[in-house]
């Protein structure tokens, strides 16, 4: 079954690739000389014309533009002309140099990254060499981290190398990179996309990034994680669209060793439907997962059989001054390296759903009663695990003020209840523009943490910011906790400075200490270890 599945996928990939590369249409003219002679003849052969004059005569028949420069009509025609010109090689890039010295881990490191982008006609490419790890206490080897070459031609797009993609809401496949969190589950391999009218097909084959820097995988020496899949989407009409996908994933099991290699082999099949009518939207996705290694699976998944399945439902209504979104999710045994699932939770420190065991529902109300740029948000979410049916409840309310002549403020309050720990958090953010050049900001945060069987601790965070236009920024962050941490500290202070001499250069300097804590971005959270020391960075775009 599995080999047939993979063979069908590989065959489909070949079918997709062949016409894309062999029958690519060529609609550019041969050279700039050819264009120039064409323009020269059709514009009456006047000598001594400038390029602008020739374009004007060729496309515009001498009509004068008395409006602002550049004349918009001429601009459009100029743009058309550029598209017909032979391709040129354009390139750009970015370099990042970093230094950090962390007293806690004892790690001092110099890091560097080079990213290059190139573009030539229908082709473009990206390369990245890097040893940067955002966390000061962790080191990466210097390596060829990303490389990608992409070909586009009308309805076709083919990518070879590193790529990410999201199918539906990501239950089966959701691959992306977050540099801030050092999170990356993108694949390396090939992705082919074809779109024609209401239909779209995407086929992928790949494996995970070479993580030789991952000690566990390196020691095991058996780190291959492979994915092969296909997805089709069809827009039935303006309101309704449907999608379906089939994916095969193979990766080492959690008990994988050199002596006893264990490869898991999953097949996922599922579909989704999306409906939109006026101010109402609805989305539903269902995925099933069939495990190829039943012995292993049965030891861990002893609820409702050994295979996985997932449901996700999202409905929304968008009224005149408010919107309401409701979500429901039920994930069971769906964890694999190339997916990440909608978490439902909105409080930052808990914004990750367990793909193997998660049942939850939630809602978000956004309300704009004054129509002055201010708005309220209310959210509620509850979820639990089948294995451990203790609910996680969270309630959040926030208000974003309008802008009063350069002054604005935001207040947010969260209450989070779990069996062993409760959080009660309030955060106030203030910003004031003092003049055209100078502005200040302040953030105050208070969080009560109730740990089961322990006295309540209260944490405070205060931050002061100053900015001089875009060029210079300074901030001071102070954090204090009522409960001492394992390293015996209860206060942390860190200074940060930024200098942007222009949009292509950035200097960053920070020193002080920072408490261990979650860093969250885009629904992914990583625990950042405590830091005490110095960080410096120079970033250069070109």
């Amino acid at each position: 079954m599995v080999s047939a599945f993979r063979a069908v996928g590989a065959g489909l990939l070949v079918l997709l690739l062949t016409p894309a590369t062999l029958f690519a249409a060529d609609d550019t003219v041969g050279s700039s000389d050819e264009i120039w002679s064409m323009m020269y003849e059709e514009s009456g052969g006047s000598s001594g014309s400038t390029v602008e004059e020739a374009i004007r005569k060729f496309y515009w028949e001498g009509e004068e533009d008395l409006g602002t420069y550049p004349p918009s009509d001429l601009w459009d025609r100029n743009f058309e002309l550029r598209r017909r010109m032979p391709p040129t090689l354009d390139w750009s890039g970015r370099m990042d140099f970093r230094y950090s010295d962390d007293d806690i881990s004892g790690i001092e490191k110099w890091e560097k990254e080079l990213e290059l982008f190139g573009d030539f006609g229908r082709w473009d490419a990206m390369f990245r060499f890097s040893d940067i790890n955002n966390f000061a206490s962790q080191e990466d080897p210097f390596r060829w981290e990303k490389a990608r070459i992409r070909f586009r031609d009308g309805k076709w797009k083919v990518t070879a190398g590193s790529y990410g993609t999201t199918w539906g809401k990501g239950l089966a496949v959701n691959m992306f990179e977050s540099k801030i969190l050092d999170f990356d589950n993108e694949a390396e391999g090939i992705k082919a996309e074809y779109e024609d009218g209401p239909g779209r097909v995407e086929v992928i084959y790949g494996w995970d990034k070479d993580r030789k820097d991952d000690p566990q995988e390196f020691e095991i020496g058996n780190s291959n994680k492979e994915i092969l899949g296909a997805r089709g989407e069809y827009k039935v009409n303006k309101q309704l669209s449907v999608g379906a996908s089939a994916v095969n994933v193979q990766f080492p099991g959690y008990e994988n060793t050199v002596d006893n290699p264990q490869h898991l082999d999953y097949d996922l099949v599922g579909g989704d439907v999306s409906y939109r009518e006026g101010d109402f939207t609805a989305y539903y996705e269902y995925q099933t997962l069939r495990r190829g290694v039943r012995d292993w699976a049965s030891s861990l998944y002893d609820f409702e059989g050994t295979d996985g399945k997932a449901n996700y439902l999202n409905v929304g209504y968008f009224g005149d001054s408010y919107s309401l979104v409701g979500e429901y999710a039920d994930y069971q045994g769906l964890d694999h390296p190339f997916n990440t699932l909608p978490p439902l939770r909105r409080w930052q420190e808990a914004a990750t759903a367990d793909p193997d065991d998660f049942v939850g529902y939630g809602g978000l109300l956004t309300w704009n009663p004054f129509n002055d740029g201010s708005y309220f948000q209310f959210s509620y979410e509850q979820d639990y695990k089948r294995e451990l049916p203790e609910p996680h409840d969270e309630f959040g309310v926030s208000y974003f003020s309008p802008n009063y002549d350069g002054f604005n403020w935001i207040i947010a309050h969260w209450q989070v209840y779990e069996k062993f720990v409760n959080h009660d958090q309030t955060k106030l953010t203030l910003a004031q523009q003092l003049s055209d050049d100078h502005s200040v900001g302040m953030v105050l945060e208070r969080e009560e943490v109730h740990l089961d069987g322990q006295p309540t601790s209260i944490d405070y965070i205060g931050e002061l910011d100053y900015a001089f236009r875009s060029e210079f920024g300074a901030s001071y962050l102070y954090e204090r906790t009522g409960a001492e941490t394992s390293d015996g500290k209860n206060e942390w202070r860190i200074w940060e400075f930024k200098y942007h001499p222009d949009e292509d250069q950035e200097w960053h300097l920070s020193f002080g200490d920072r408490r261990e804590g979650y860093v969250c971005s885009g629904g992914i959270c990583r625990l950042e270890p405590a830091f005490d020391g110095l960080k410096a960075e120079y970033l250069r775009r070109f």
């Binding site: 560097k112 982008f117 959701n174 919107s323 775009r541």
Partner: protein, 173 residues
Amino acid sequence: MIRLFATLLMVMVLLFAGSAMAKPAPEFELDDLEGDTYSLDDLVEEHDVVLIDFWEVGCIPCNKLLVYLNEYYDELKDDGLGMYIISRDTSLTESGVEPFFKTNKYPWKVLRDGDQEVSKDYGVKASPATFIIVDGEIVYQHYGYSNGQEEEIYEAIKGALAGEDLGELEERK
């Protein structure tokens, strides 16, 4: 070998790379919230000056900047300014995108970059990031936002509408 090659390349680039030049804007095709597809070509053909703003749910600096961009858009849309949001939200936070823009009645098309491929092409690692594109070329870029920086963006938009090049826009700062 790769390490040596990359290090040499970085040194060369650092020594010789120029900065004050317009760069071609990476092509893209993205769906908006209604499922309609937009390409960069479409946007550039429709507007003299295109501003694209990379945005994320829950990004407070992004939302602060939008308040100002809304004012600028109201003032300058008739002069040829087109503005588009590129949401960097993956499917994990996507459910908050449409409520935010619909409830706040922002007039722009919101294009979804769920796998962040376009963000990567534009070198965007965090939101917000603002690009002004004229005739398919990036004439101005601004990464991040803190109070007071909106003035610079406003000047850049006006400069781009007046046909100034990147060097002139830099001098306006």
